[in-house]
Amino acid sequence: VTVFLTADPIDVAELLREARPGDGAVCAFIGVVRNESEGRETVAIEYEAYGAMAESEMARIEGSLATRWPHVRVRIRHRVGLLPVGEPSVAIVATAPHRDEAFAACRAAIEEIKKRVPIWKKEIRADGSSEWVDPTRA
């Protein structure tokens, strides 16, 4: 059984080794903690997940991508815990015979994760304040 959430650093190299002999394209997206948000300096982000549901939602995403792009294999990992600037929070690796499908599936994976997986993040700012991010508030 795949485990998608990890409290430890994401092993991107392990995901890259998923490529099969017939794959000519390995497309990776790695989301990292940025040093600012809406003009305010960020020093870290705390990620929190509803573990059991986040796992099943990410498994569902991998499954629906496999149906949509049968030749692509997508692997997803998401980190939880307190992450400093520059630290990877999410990694997606899509491997496929050709690049078009690999790019498309990789892009679709991150968009689905942002939409559906029960994970939340709290920005820790340089001025000592902190706030839970709410993407529904512009």
Binding site: G31, Y47, E48, A49, Y50, A52, M53, A54, S56, H78, S89, V90, I110, I113, K114, K115, R116, V117, P118, I119, W120, K121, K122, W132, V133, D134, P135, T136
Partner: protein
């Protein structure tokens, strides 16, 4: 009957607990639980419809019935990635 309530992010912080055990009348629905929680915790009112409910890890409408032992999670707008 009794259900376990799981809270996350801003709602967890506002309530001050990540898990609650709540006693409900038999036949209660998700909406009944929300009303009960909102009485003690104004954060439920503040989030309103933006706070989704999941019963046993599946998103559930307010009219969904609850059973003894169910796990009900309140999910603020997700922000993964």
């Amino acid at each position: 009957m009794r259900v376990t309530v799981k809270l996350f992010g801003a709602v967890r912080e506002a309530v001050g607990e990540k898990e609650l055990s709540v006693q409900l009348a038999p036949g209660a629905h998700v909406a009944d639980l929300r009303r009960l929680l909102a009485r003690d915790h104004p954060v439920f009112e503040r989030f309103g419809a933006r706070l989704a409910a999941a019963v046993n890890q599946e998103t559930a409408p307010e009219g969904a019935p609850l059973r003894d032992g169910d796990e009900v999670a309140y999910l603020p707008p997700v922000a993964g990635g």
